[in-house]
């Protein structure tokens, strides 16, 4: 752990500028550009977004609300309501029956449909590949001798992962909103608790739901980043992360394991529906955010400890 990019103590807090360098004997030390941290993050984000794979994954995410919307439209166009016996059954909120009355429910339905599998899978692919992929292709060594600095590079990767959680969620939400608006009527919204609010307020709540869904993903994103520091194979890291999502989801459905359920990162995911009540049920929302924060703290530290001490041999 002694090898990092610079003295560790000064490293964890605010981005520092050029002041802590030892007075060197020589020539033209260039000062650190103040905008550099931003430039690294921007480079990181655009590089991620320019990958064909990323665009394909986002495309799939955008497609899901369209498929749901079209399916609901076809199902209900030949008269009658939405297929009987369904709707909100089981533990997850489904929102399907409400879509025909109000297109905005397609946003909630799409998020509820993608949050258990598709969204975390996409996040797992992106974050699992974040460091392992660069190590595998060798670009990591050039970033490090540039020198990006291990802590800074990890921070840039982490920030990019967080940004990507938001981007992926927004893609689903916006696609749901646009599809919903095109296929179904819009208007005042009746919340789960029966109270009707204006469409504007419903839009605000939809934005809040999207933010909650994005925040629900930061736990798995950080786990993916940690796994990514363990190997030089992007594929292995992606597969492990996605496998972990599925495993956690399965464990979460086994009643005998209820003791560990509150510590599984997907356990409170569907609590976002509580934002659609009046008054809002904060209990599980807060638990969810706390759990995600715990995952970020634990696996973020583990990723940092691992990455700053790792021998870069590829």
């Amino acid at each position: 752990m002694s090898r990092a990019d610079e003295p560790k103590s000064a490293d964890t807090g605010v981005p520092k500028t050029a002041d802590t360098r030892p007075p060197g004997p020589t020539t033209d030390k260039r000062p650190t550009s103040p905008l550099w941290a931003l430039a690294l993050f921007r480079s990181e984000l655009t590089t991620t977004l320019r990958r064909w794979r990323t665009l394909a994954l986002l495309g799939v995410l955008a497609l899901i609300p369209i498929l749901i919307g079209v399916a609901v439209k076809i199902e209900t166009s030949d008269g009658g309501g939405f297929g009987g016996g369904r709707g909100g059954g089981g533990e997850g909120p489904a929102f399907f029956p409400q879509i025909t009355n109000n297109g905005i429910f397609l946003v909630f339905a799409s998020l509820a449909a993608t949050l258990p599998v598709f969204l975390p899978m996409v996040i797992g692919v992106i974050t699992g590949d974040a460091i392992a992929g660069e190590a595998g292709s060798g670009t990591l060594r050039y970033l490090l001798v540039a020198p990006a600095g291990r802590t800074r590079l990890l921070l840039a990767k982490f920030t990019t992962s967080m940004a990507f959680c938001l981007i992926a969620t927004l893609v689903v939400a916006l696609s749901g909103l646009v599809t919903g608006a095109l296929l179904f009527p819009l208007g005042d919204v009746t919340l789960i608790s029966g109270i009707t609010v204006s469409f504007e307020e419903a839009l605000l709540r939809a934005l809040g739901v999207a933010a909650l869904v994005a925040l629900s993903l930061v736990g798995i994103a950080t786990v993916g980043l940690f796994i990514s520091t363990l190997t030089n194979s992007g594929i292995a890291a992606m597969a492990t992360t996605v496998g972990l999502v599925i495993t956690a989801q399965i464990l979460d459905t086994i009643p005998q394991l209820h003791a560990i359920h509150p510590y599984l990162f997907p356990h409170y995911w569907l609590s976002f529906a509580d934002l659609l009540r009046e008054p809002v049920y904060w209990d599980e929302l807060v638990k969810n955010l706390g759990l995600q924060g715990l995952y970020v703290a634990v696996f973020g530290s583990a990723a940092w400890a691992r990455f700053t001490a790792k021998d870069i041999t590829a």
Binding site: D5, S137, A146
Partner: protein, 327 residues
């Protein structure tokens, strides 16, 4: 707080007892004492698997040494990485690129990773680096479509994004055609003339001989020799060869001028040229003077020349093995 000798500050690269033992227990680098003078073009030689790359990775802060220490441009690595590495350009184990980005965008990305790089001059510096390695025309192509030689050039361009005090080039001509190799060599010479220290690892002895002023030889993780290329080649002694109908007279004259180990083979006389002392106070023997002396003494000379010892001879003499044998 830390005392440094002048000698250490003068060296572009300095290691003391640098050792790396991998987790499996394999000793990759064993107590390496390397000293690369500033302003030199330093050839780093050794068979594959001799520990060259591990050494370079330790110098660049990518691998943590098991023991020993390394200084780059007078500052300790990896502790001072953040202040030293912006002044060092590196090509390590071949180029690594983002295949889905264009050549230009690859360089923009690497430049963004350098905290000292000025974003305002980024585009101009990237264009200049591309131009310098002859890639200006292919800058807009995706790196996926680059040939190995073009990738190698792009890797070099990344090392040249800033004015550097030290360039660490690991096998820089790998994958290049002869024309490309020549261009890279002249680029290295050009950079050296500008005052950049170049640390060049290669297993092509010709290459080292052509461009390097100094060299070190590694085998099985150990440093077995280092010094100027002339000194190293002299280690295996260049021989003088003369063809003459008067071999006996020739031997007498040559002996007077300090040529040793004289051998007569019919009309051919060969011997070892005296090695100039390290002080170099006594001027090295001028071959033309030697020839004139022979002629003055009435020796009829048909052919006269030094058979220059190559670095390859030196290498074989040092390691007792062929060059491409894995250590």
């Amino acid at each position: 707080m830390e005392q440094r000798s002048t000698e250490e500050d003068d060296a572009a690269v300095e290691t003391r007892g640098l050792t790396k033992r991998y987790r499996g227990g394999q000793l990759a680098v064993d107590a390496l004492d390397l000293s690369v003078p500033r302003g030199s073009v330093f050839g780093f030689l050794g068979p594959n698997g001799s520990g060259k790359t591990t050494t370079i990775r330790m110098l660049m802060g990518l691998i943590e040494p098991t023991s020993g220490r390394a200084r780059l441009l007078g500052e300790p690595m990896p502790r001072a990485a953040r202040s030293v590495l912006p002044r060092v350009g590196a090509l390590i184990e071949g180029p690594a690129l983002y295949p889905f980005l264009t050549g230009r965008d690859n360089l923009l990305r690497y430049d963004a990773a350098d905290p000292t790089a000025d974003p305002r001059t980024r585009t101009a510096r990237v264009a200049a680096a591309l131009d310098r390695v002859g890639l200006a025309a292919a800058a807009g192509k995706r790196a996926r479509a680059y040939s190995l030689g073009m990738k190698q050039r792009l890797g070099l361009a990344a090392a040249l994004l800033q004015p550097r005090e030290l360039l660490v080039l690991d096998e820089p001509t790998n994958g290049l055609d002869p024309q490309g190799m020549r261009e890279i060599r002249s680029l290295v010479r050009e950079l050296a003339e500008e005052g950049t220290t170049v640390f060049l690892s290669s297993h092509l002895l010709d290459e080292i001989e052509q461009v390097c002023t100094h060299a070190a030889v590694m085998a099985q993780g150990r440093l077995i020799a280092q010094g100027t290329v002339a000194e190293l080649a002299a280690g295996s002694r260049g021989r003088l060869a003369i063809t003459t109908p008067d071999p006996v007279d020739a031997v007498r004259v040559l002996k007077e001028h300090g040529v040793t180990d004289l051998v007569i083979l019919d009309e051919r006389v060969s011997g070892e040229l005296p090695v100039p002392g390290p002080g170099a106070a006594d001027a090295p023997l001028e071959l033309a003077d030697l020839n004139a002396a022979l002629v003055r003494a009435g020796v009829r000379v048909r052919a006269f020349g030094a058979e220059r010892a190559s670095l390859e001879d030196a290498f074989v003499a040092l390691t007792g093995e062929g060059f491409d044998v894995a250590g």
